[in-house]
Subunit: 195 residues, 2 copies
DNA sequence: TGTACATCAGTGAACGCGCGTTCACTGATGTAC
DNA sequence: TGTACATCAGTGAACGCGCGTTCACTGATGTAC
C-alpha cells in the first residue's frame, strides 16, 4: 500500500510525453520528429522515453486510441431526431468534429502509414469501419427512391473524399466550413430541392 | 564533332535512373526509397547517381516538370466546344487524366512535402494555379444565375478535394470513375436538373 | 591515319553523420523484519 | 518507529546501424598535332 507515488510519477511522465508529442507533431510533422524532440519538449531525458514506449510508433498508437473513444462520445451526444431528416449532415458532422479535434494525430497516422505498412492497414480498416454507417444510410435513401450519383459505396467514397480533403484545406470558421460541406454533399446526394 | 556518344551515354543513364525511380517509388513510396534502390533498379553503381542529381529531391523535381508539360498537352487536345456546356466535366477531366497518368509522381511530391518545406510550398503554388480556371468558371456560372453551394473559391476547394481523394481511392475503370465524379460534382454545383 | 594526351561517365569501397536505442548509474520510494 | 535492503523511474553519455555522399580509380571516348 502506502502512497502510489511511483505509479503516479510514471503516469505523469507518460502523460507529459504524449502532450509533448502532440505539440511537436503539430509543429514539425510526425516524420520529422525525433525521439529527443519529444523528450526535450517534455523536459525529460532521452532514455526515459523507452520506459514507456518501444518507439515512436507505439506512442502514436496510444494517441490514436483516444480518437476511437471520442468518436463514440460524439455519436452518443448527437440528437437522435436529427437522423430522421433526409440529409447527410449528422454523419458529416461526426466526421467534421473528429477531424477538427484530432487533426494532429490523424495527420500523424497518415504520415506514419507512408512509411509503415502496418499503419497503412490499420488506417484502411479504420476508414472502412467509419464509412459503414454512411453506406447504410445511402442505401436506405436509395430504397426510398433517391437517385444517388453512383452506388452507395461509391457515393460514400465521394462524400468521404470531399469531406476529408475539404476539412484539410478549409481555413475559415468551423461552422461555415461544415455548412458549406453539408450543402455540397446533400446536393450531390439529393439535388438542391432537398435543402 | 564525331559521335556524341558520351552525351548520349549520360542521357541514357539519366533516363534509366528516372524510369527506375518511377518503378521504385510506385513499389515502396518516395520516403522509403533509398538512393541505392534506384541505382540498383537501374543497374548502375550508387556513385553514378550523383553525376546527374544532387539528391533524391532533385530527381523528383525533374520528374515533376514533365507533369506540367503534359497538362498543357491535355488542355490543348480538348474539344473547345465541350466548354460551352454548363458542366464542370472538362475541368474535372483534365484533373482526372493528369492524376491517373502521373499518380506515382504526384504521390511522391506529396510525400516529399511532408518532410521538406520547399516541396510543400511548391505544391501549394501548383495547386493554386491548377484551380484558378475552376474558380473563374464557377464565378461565370454564378453570374449566369447558378446558385453555388458556397463562394466560387470554396466551391472549387470542395470539388478539388472530392476529385483528388476520390481519384486516389477509386479502384474501378477510369471511365466509370470519371463519370461518377462528374455526376456528383455537377449535382453539387447545379443540382440534378443539369444532367 | 596514327600516336599521345585529356576528358569524362561510370564504379564501388569507404567514410562519416544523424539518430535510435542501450545501459550502467543515481536517488527516491517501497518493503521486510 | 527504525534500519537495511530491494525496486524502480529517470538520466544522459556512448554505442552502433543505416544510409547518403565522396573520391580515387578504370576504361572508353574525344582532341591535338
Amino acid at each position: 500500500m502506502a502512497g502510489t507515488t511511483r505509479a503516479q510519477q510514471a503516469e505523469q511522465t507518460r502523460h507529459e510525453l504524449e502532450s509533448a508529442a502532440r505539440v511537436v507533431f503539430a509543429r514539425s510533422g510526425y516524420l520529422n520528429t525525433k525521439i529527443v524532440d519529444i523528450t526535450r519538449q517534455a523536459g525529460r531525458a532521452a532514455g526515459s522515453f523507452y520506459n514507456h514506449y518501444s518507439g515512436k510508433d507505439e506512442l502514436l498508437l496510444a494517441l490514436a486510441e483516444q480518437i476511437g473513444v471520442d468518436a463514440d462520445v460524439i455519436v452518443a451526444t448527437q440528437d437522435p431526431a436529427a437522423r430522421e431528416h433526409p440529409t447527410m449532415r449528422p454523419h458529416v458532422e461526426v466526421f467534421w468534429q473528429l477531424f477538427t479535434r484530432h487533426r494532429v494525430v490523424i495527420d500523424a497516422l497518415r504520415d506514419a502509414a507512408l512509411v509503415n505498412a502496418d499503419f497503412a492497414q490499420r488506417i484502411q480498416r479504420f476508414t472502412q469501419v467509419q464509412f459503414e454507417p454512411w453506406v447504410d444510410r445511402l442505401a436506405n435513401f436509395e430504397k426510398a427512391g433517391v437517385e444517388l450519383p453512383a452506388s452507395p459505396a461509391t457515393t460514400a467514397m465521394l462524400i468521404g473524399g470531399a469531406a476529408e480533403n475539404f476539412a484539410r484545406l478549409w481555413q475559415g470558421s468551423p461552422e461555415d466550413g461544415l455548412d458549406a460541406l453539408v450543402t455540397f454533399v446533400d446536393r450531390g446526394v439529393f439535388g438542391p430541392a432537398a435543402q
